[in-house]
Symmetry: C2
Subunit: 719 residues, 2 copies
């Protein structure tokens, strides 16, 4: 059976499976056929009347050039494990403990001046004459007895990380691919000519799908299989550095960065941690560079009459779609792979002509987590449905333009359940897109401002996929918000100072003490604290999750404790008895108990704080009035359909809003979206049971029967 | 049946129960009869041939004087709850939220200059002209919008706290007793004359039992029953302050203390937190004052031919038995009430002629925790046995001179089980004391140094009883150590710098991040860290419990992570993968699983760290070699007989010591002490089951049958 309507769907084709490619294109209603990492398209496919996407990873697959010009390869700073000085002199072998197939020391004469040796016991940089380097070993002399020393150094990255990951995960045996740094003029000239030549030789390609740009997210492998991945951060800038970049930076910013700006006592600068001022400068520097170079590539692509889409994963660093320079690149489309609703909103909200989602699972024997998908023991149709349940509720709020898949199409052979599931999803997506085309779904008059260190730059995402960041309460909040009928904006502490709360109704702060999401030292600012205080006192609402506004040095652990009505005992409440409390047996936003978790040490600051839920002696859900406003505290929050509904009820209660304006189901495991222009009600049953769902709309109630997991489109005639 | 031997026992007598008093004296072998708070002795008792103790609480029961000279009453600093400034001007009523029967504002002209108003949002002291005080209200003007303001102020304490506690707990209706401050010359002259007169009028008294001296531990009551006790700290100095004291301090130390030195952002300076330098000065200042005044009292008592014993509880502040000035007072005896073994060692080790323990339960209808003892539902004999199981193992290591009871003797009528239990304990105590008199029990050649902020000043105790501090891992460690056959010393960070580790075998650090027991900022000292590093590297051992050596600013959370082989993720390890590990199924010191607990975020720093026990992904017991030494880490430690045995095995393993030198049982719930001079083996069955216990001694093995909870004295003939 063919798709209900054709279009808006990108199919991964595969040479050798031409018939299958065209059959599946028919079944799923594809209008575009793409190649993937590891597959090619044959003329039978490219000449079948479909638009063609071709995938290019611009900095990879140039091993011959890299061999000839090894100085154009990418680099990074690393830090040795500290060595305890039991003698006056010690030796450090910098790369001990790192994966030697990924790294090679850069001890060239432009690199060595950036190396550093630190006394980590007293956090002191050693003068350069107290150590020497030769033959892979640093010898430190004049050590203070029993202090610990570590070396920071530059090294070449001799294996492109996505290729390395696929190799080591899937036991590939092919050549290790290298990667070039466009910072180097020789490499950049080569890459531009290479792209020109590629365009010339591939007239059949309509869209070049850049996977992605220049610098991969950070993935540092160790030598020991008990810690194969030493460090991985989907939004770190550590793989962008080189002596050349550092020199340009110094020229532009008037000060020099050092190894320690990257190494940070060995902790590096993870996206989950608030950045230093130097790191902020460096990010801006890299973002400008990436945008300038990307713009040149787009120019070449346009010159050849093709379009340039960019895949926002892998080598994406510096290309944040909500960054200052993204629009200047001139991409024609943004493609985001999605497991979750927040990723859908991230893509849908970017300022770019075409927004496309690449669905999961990837057509690959195993999934990202290493579990089977299209192999023995896999259930790709279940995986697809799990992700779809997350994605569709976000699509119901804000549509994208296209969806698609990637990988080896031949793996779909015999996977009828999967193939049918994708067909249903594609049809549902097209219906949703058509609804949005006629007018936006009804939205509540509620604006939620999510506050964290990065603000809009990291709208919706923390760094990477849900399962990579799911220890952070904020990603659960974002996932819940992605399908709720409210306005959501992401603001920074500077935004708060600049009045961003003036048009917000609810402020959300969700994070752990000292992390970028909670804010850390940003809460030492009296301006920020008093502005949030004003906001709630005058009638705004605050939702704090985890360790919101936790900072050192104040009279409370949470800078907003006076608003929240709770604080956290970090030990400094020693000998201070907490308020006794009774837990209310009913609460105003029917608690989804399993969606709320505990933070240790929470205690009331105010006898008027209502405890709606507790674990033992610890409040986990509280409500506190402050001036004309209110605050909710949750010890933790876990996304689930019931949790999302609880958050919606919380927003309605806090803001005094009637939820029926956007449609409100009477069943907490069902959600809806109401499209007034076409009079269409979309009811999503998020449970694995059929359910009768009553939806209250502004003008009456609609009753709908829904099957388990069904997304039902209901034409509604107004009373 | 009379006691086996008479002596070394202090009986609480009671007028009106003369026959009972003499009977019980016979039964328990008393040589001393005392009065108690609420009881009197009659001539029939005082003239019956027993030595007589009389209890005096020197600063209490002078209400007439206090009424006439209210300016001689004791004071303290308090801090108002902060007020949010939603207007330019706000009002603070300082005592709102405090118990008005305990406190009264001191707005006298010598007190007001010490009052302060703070902007707590920006931690800024307001200039004095920005607020005014009148009629119980502080008016602050020129407030920054939405900042929070609090006032620090002096107030009179108009109800002696022990009396207040007994009143409010037991619904007493008698007059509220006040307390005088000996700092005031008028009060001091009065108290001296009063004592002279008392001595003159009470020739029958042999020993004056001071309960205790001048300043009570801190107990701040709130107005709301949901937080009746706002703050309680058994070792705080906050109840010693007055304008007079502050003026003398300034003269002696050359700088002035302010309210904030006491208020500390509203947190006060709890004993569980590292003190400021100012607080250390102030403590020394008070200790000298207390010692000087106490010496005068002792002089008067001696002049009248009596002895002066001091009860080390209640108004004891400034009189630490391990403090610099304690010996200078010239007390004839120290009396300590005991629930636990550590309290026994605390008393036994003090430099004073007579050491006496007051056993629990107190002869009172209810116990300290509010549960019934000598009233319906109480089981005083079980309580007594529970405490005895803790105390006897400490007494087996180090004896005291005397034991005794306190309270209303008539409550023992009909309590045969209790009376027999006390008789058995008294007999066992006397046997132990006689054994010690012939020579110390065999001890292992192991010196354990317990390191914390307070060092020897707070030997054995943290602050108060076990149940008041049992959230701190250190009190569990101390309780376990109190009965182990090893040398124990308590050292400070200065002691470490001054070489205290040179004669230690094992260093123990047990606490929570930032507390006085872990050490907090003391671990920022490279000297301390490198000295501990040297100690272990050269062959010493380290046991870390909880969050040992946790400090901000280093490259690891635990300053000793490199020795421990574990560190704690406080969030700064974001994106750094931990080492994977296997938990060993057997370990070298048969783990008492329930004695070991979890600390969140613990991860290995070294693949060679052995994980002996884990909870989920979190190691809770590890072993790590470092140089010639070793380190054990425990996430938490809970005292139990099995836990104490585990700690002993750990000490034996770490130091390579043969435990049989001091006698070693083959049953983990039994302990022993070996007295070589008399050839006596004391076997303590700590379980509630009879057991056959084999004890390995240096020259062979002794087999003993022990009843549940029995303490058995076994004469041993050497091979």
């Amino acid at each position: 059976m063919a798709a209900e309507r054709r279009g808006d769907f990108t199919l991964p084709g595969e040479a050798g499976y031409e018939k299958l490619t065209l059959e599946m294109a028919e079944k799923w209603g594809a209008d575009v056929i793409r190649d993937s990492d590891g597959t090619k398209l044959s003329p039978e496919i490219t000449q079948a009347g479909y638009k063609i996407y071709s995938t290019i990873c611009i900095i990879r697959e140039h091993n011959a050039f890299a061999e000839k010009h090894p100085e154009t390869q990418q680099q990074c700073f690393l830090c040795s494990d500290p060595v305890t000085a039991s003698r006056e002199s010690i030796e450090i072998r910098p790369l001990d403990g790192y994966f030697d197939e990924q790294f090679r020391l850069n001890d060239g004469e432009d690199a060595l001046p950036f190396w550093q040796v630190w006394d980590r016991t007293e956090n002191r940089l050693l003068p350069a004459d107290s150590w020497r380097y030769a033959d892979g070993t640093i010898t430190v002399t004049g050590c203070v007895p029993y202090h610990r020393y570590s070396a920071s150094f530059l090294c070449w990255r001799i294996w492109e990380e996505i290729n390395m990951y696929n190799h080591t995960t899937n036991n590939w045996t092919s050549e290790h691919l290298r990667q070039l740094d466009p910072r180097h003029p020789a490499a950049w000239d080569y890459l531009r000519s290479w792209l020109e030549k590629w365009c010339e030789e591939n007239p059949q390609t309509d869209v070049i799908r850049l996977t992605s740009l220049f610098y991969n997210f950070v993935w540092i492998f160790g030598s020991d299989l008990r810690r194969r991945t030493r460090f991985t951060d989907w939004a770190s800038y550590d793989f962008t550095v080189s002596p050349a970049a550092l020199k340009v930076f110094e020229r532009e910013y008037g000060y020099a960065l050092t190894a320690e700006d990257f190494i940070n006592k060995g902790k590096l600068q993870a996206t989950h941690r608030p950045p230093t001022a130097h790191k902020r400068d460096y990010m801006d520097f890299i973002q400008r560079f990436v945008a300038e170079k990307a713009k040149e590539l787009v120019g070449i692509i346009h010159k050849w009459g093709k379009q340039a889409y960019v895949f926002y994963d892998d080598s994406w660093v510096g290309m944040e779609p909500y960054g200052k320079y993204f629009a200047s690149v001139g991409f024609d489309g943004l493609i985001k792979c999605v497991f979750s609703g927040f990723e859908c909103r991230l893509c849908a909200g970017a300022k770019v002509p075409v927004h496309e989602l690449r669905f999961h699972p990837y057509l690959f024997p195993v999934g990202l987590g290493g579990l089977p998908t299209f192999s023995e023991g896999g259930h790709p149709e279940k995986d697809a449905m799990d992700y779809w349940l997350h994605v569709r509720r976000a699509l119901a709020r804000q549509s994208v333009d296209r969806i698609g898949l990637g990988g080896y199409l031949h793996l779909t052979v015999g996977q009828d359940a999967f193939n049918n599931t994708i067909q249903e999803m594609a049809d549902a997506f097209r219906k949703l897109k058509d609804l949005h085309a006629h007018g936006a779904p009804a939205e509540l008059p509620v604006t939620v401002a999510v506050l964290h260190t990065w603000g809009a730059l990291r709208s919706w995402t923390l760094s990477g996929h849900f399962h990579e960041t799911d220890r952070n309460p904020l990603i659960h909040v974002n996932e819940a918000l992605s399908g709720l009928p409210v306005k959501v904006k992401f603001i920074s502490f500077d935004d708060v100072r600049n009045g961003a709360l003036r048009d917000a109704d609810v402020l959300i702060s969700a994070g752990r003490a000292g992390d970028a999401w909670s804010g850390g030292d940003a809460w030492k600012s009296p301006e920020v604290v008093s502005e949030v205080t004003r906001f709630v006192w005058e009638g705004g609402s605050l939702i704090g999750v985890g360790e919101p506004s936790a900072a050192e040095g104040g009279d409370t652990r949470f800078a907003l404790a006076h608003i929240l009505g709770v604080d956290q005992d970090d030990g400094s409440y020693a000998c201070h008895a907490p308020w006794e409390f009774m837990t209310e047996m009913a609460d105003p936003f029917f608690v989804a108990g399993e969606s709320v978790g505990k933070t240790e040490g929470i205690r009331l600051t105010d006898p008027d704080t209502r405890v709606l839920n507790a674990r033992g002696d610890t409040p986990v859900l509280t409500l506190h009035s402050f001036g004309k406003g209110k605050a909710v505290y949750m010890g933790n929050f876990f996304y689930s359909p019931a949790g999302a509904r609880m958050l919606l009820e919380m927003l309605l209660y806090l803001t005094g809003t009637d939820g029926s304006a956007a449609g409100l189901t009477d069943y907490s495991l069902a959600e809806c979206a109401w499209y007034p222009e076409t009079g269409t009600l979309v009811v999503m049953n998020n449970s694995d049971q059929a359910a009768e769902v009553n939806v209250t709309l502004p003008f009456g109630t609609v009753q709908a029967h829904t099957e388990a997991e069904e997304m039902r489109f209901i034409p509604v005639r107004r009373g």
